[in-house]
Symmetry: C2
């Protein structure tokens, strides 16, 4: 019962903020977000993907041993009695758990949901602690490289669709890195941890990564320098690369993960991609700001208004008629609103039409329909109003 | 990098389950869920609501003092250094925090998201620890009862739309309960806690509620019995009520809540409703099971197939053409799939058309299009294929 919430007792004052690394989405931001989701979901559906959903938290042990050093970034829930829980860190591990739990050996699915990482946020660059992942994965035993190719196709389609400008899709194979490490003299026991250092080259300069390898991780300076030679090669590759916004998608094969959950270790080969919408969203949001494009945050087709007083009931009656006919309509929550205020509301919110109820018009069985942009006004028979509004607000 | 996840090392075995009170949604369940969301969102948009989103967790202090006794049901996050956080318990308090934080005095918004309560789950009856709320709220100073009436209209429209059968909307005013308590001799200090006991009458018989009032909450037996008289009246009201599935929506005014967040205590009157989709979803899911209606979980229009071997590249080329034209298309991930298997896949998943690539047809510049339901086959010129598929799969 909401009525209980609003007690006036005890006006405690709080720090008014969202938790570190998180944000609210305003209606305008939601409108942009919806566009991005729409492009992504349309693509996933075009490729025949089903959709699933999983809980926002998992048993802690479900996540244990899946993320190596990054485990420290997992949000745990407080032990309040009962199971130990953690917020999901990505959508891949819950997906693998879902497959093993339901003995599914074959599925092409997408999943769009928020994931949680206690990372250092850099919100201006679109790095958050709560952020969306849009995952598309293909699980099952298939002929080599066909599902992998479809994943690349999907990234290409989505990034093209969103018109973000030029992009580069990098394809690699872990075994190349393994070979490189072997040649550089990295001991087997350090492959994983050195691999995670190399991953940081996207965000850190080589010198910092090198000192992490040698200092924190105990790699010999010689091995580190040999890795450095390869890294330098890689950097030369990208001289002349345009200003980068960083990675907006990633993915790969994870053929062993489902087997880690299956009691008999049965494997289900998987491949997938994850689109990170936060950076994409940042780019689009800045673009919208710069263009001064006016984004509508509602789809209202018509405001039901009145020019005279005492017509509240008539307005409510008409707006209910319109709702019942599926027209998106609003009415101001005032007994006797001024016509000017009603027209102003339309200007501000982009409502294209006003249906004006008047005493004479009611007697005549007509409604005055006003086009906000042109100020044109026509009397429409009440029984034709719905059709007229539909016609005038249908998109070309 | 997903490549890191799938290590074959260390096959730990886990309890394969979702946390207590939570569940996964399978593709079929998602299809039903989407229908429900669609009806609800359509209604909210019809009424001109904007949409916002807030983080899944809030600062713990944001939730403190808002839920009375129910506070014990809040999920807290573990203190891992930094801020103390809790999962949101509803969408109302985050909304009020959002309004105060952004100094918004006037908005009509909806918010559909999961909320979290460490309650005793009864999942067969649609009671979960992680569940969706679909909230519509109107904030602002308006003439009395107009926004309130729209909230009722919305509940009526949504429940009618979903065709759940007859429903009863109960309207009450907290002040009636306050008056009743005063008459029954409940001391002011116990109003809140006794109010929360009365709330439980939906789930518990009067005798249990009475013993909670007297035993746990120290109300005098006489006062409890006088309340009982009113409750009995209430029950007589509903003799003959059909088998109930319980409450699927609730709402009310909370004029004081935003003021609790505002540094100067400035109030923003609010009224809203919350639709609980879990019970609705349970009802619809059971109905679908009973009807044996076949629910498609994808929207794929056509499968690109081949009858002969060595046509993988040609299949991939064609399916890419279709994707680029916006056709929802799939291809089996096999080098040389059997035609029978490809047709079977269409039968199982409800794909209505098969575009069959053949060597002779490729030479002739045509594709064989097969209608799965009728087995009819026609050769279509490749450049007309997209149009033909669109025509044959457009909904009437």
């Amino acid at each position: 019962m909401k009525a209980q919430l609003g007690g006036d007792e005890g006006k405690h004052k709080f720090v008014l903020k969202t938790p570190k690394g998180t944000r609210d989405y305003s209606p305008k931001q939601m409108a942009i977000r919806e566009r991005v989701f729409d492009a992504i979901i349309t693509c996933f559906k075009r490729h025949g993907a089903e959709v699933i959903d999983t809980p926002v938290f998992e048993l802690k042990e479900t996540l244990t041993g899946k993320y190596g050093e990054d485990s420290k970034l997992i949000y745990d829930l407080k032990d309040q009695g009962g199971e130990l829980l953690s917020l999901r860190y990505d959508l891949t591990v819950p997906f693998a758990r879902y497959l093993a739990m339901n003995k599914i050996t074959n599925i092409k699915r997408y999943h769009i949901a928020k994931v949680y990482r206690r990372d250092n946020p850099a919100m201006t660059r679109g790095r958050y602690r709560e952020f969306y992942q849009c995952d598309f994965d293909i699980a099952g035993q298939f002929d080599p490289m066909i599902p992998d190719a479809e994943c690349l196709k999907i990234v290409h389609e989505i990034l093209s669709d969103l018109q973000l400008g030029d992009f580069l899709i990098k394809v690699n194979d872990r075994r190349i890195l393994d070979g490189m490490f072997a040649v550089c003299g990295v001991p087997d026991s350090k492959f994983r941890t050195i691999c995670s250092s190399v991953d940081k080259l996207d965000k850190m300069p080589w010198e910092e990564v090198r000192s992490e390898m040698v200092g924190e991780k105990g790699l010999s300076p010689e091995a580190a320098d040999r890795i450095g030679d390869y890294v330098q090669l890689h950097e030369n590759d990208h001289v002349g690369e345009p200003v980068s916004v960083g990675s907006v998608a990633g993915g790969g094969r994870y053929d062993g993960l489902v087997g880690m959950f299956d009691p008999k270790g049965r494997k289900v080969p998987c491949v997938g991609v994850s689109i990170g919408i936060e950076r994409i969203f940042s780019i689009l949001e800045q673009r919208v700001e710069a263009s001064e494009e006016k984004i509508r945050t509602t789809e209202t087709q018509v405001l039901v208004a009145s020019a005279q007083k005492k017509l509240l009931e008539e307005r409510l009656k008409l707006v209910a008629e319109l709702w019942d006919a599926g027209i998106k309509a609003e009415v101001l929550y005032k007994k006797n609103p001024k016509l000017l205020n009603q027209l102003q509301y339309c200007e501000e919110t982009g409502i294209p039409l006003v249906a004006i109820v008047g005493e004479q018009e009611l007697k005549d069985g007509v409604i005055k329909l006003r086009v906000v942009a042109t100020r044109e006004e026509v009397n429409i028979r009440r029984e034709s109003l719905v059709e007229e509004i539909r016609m005038r607000t249908s998109r070309p």
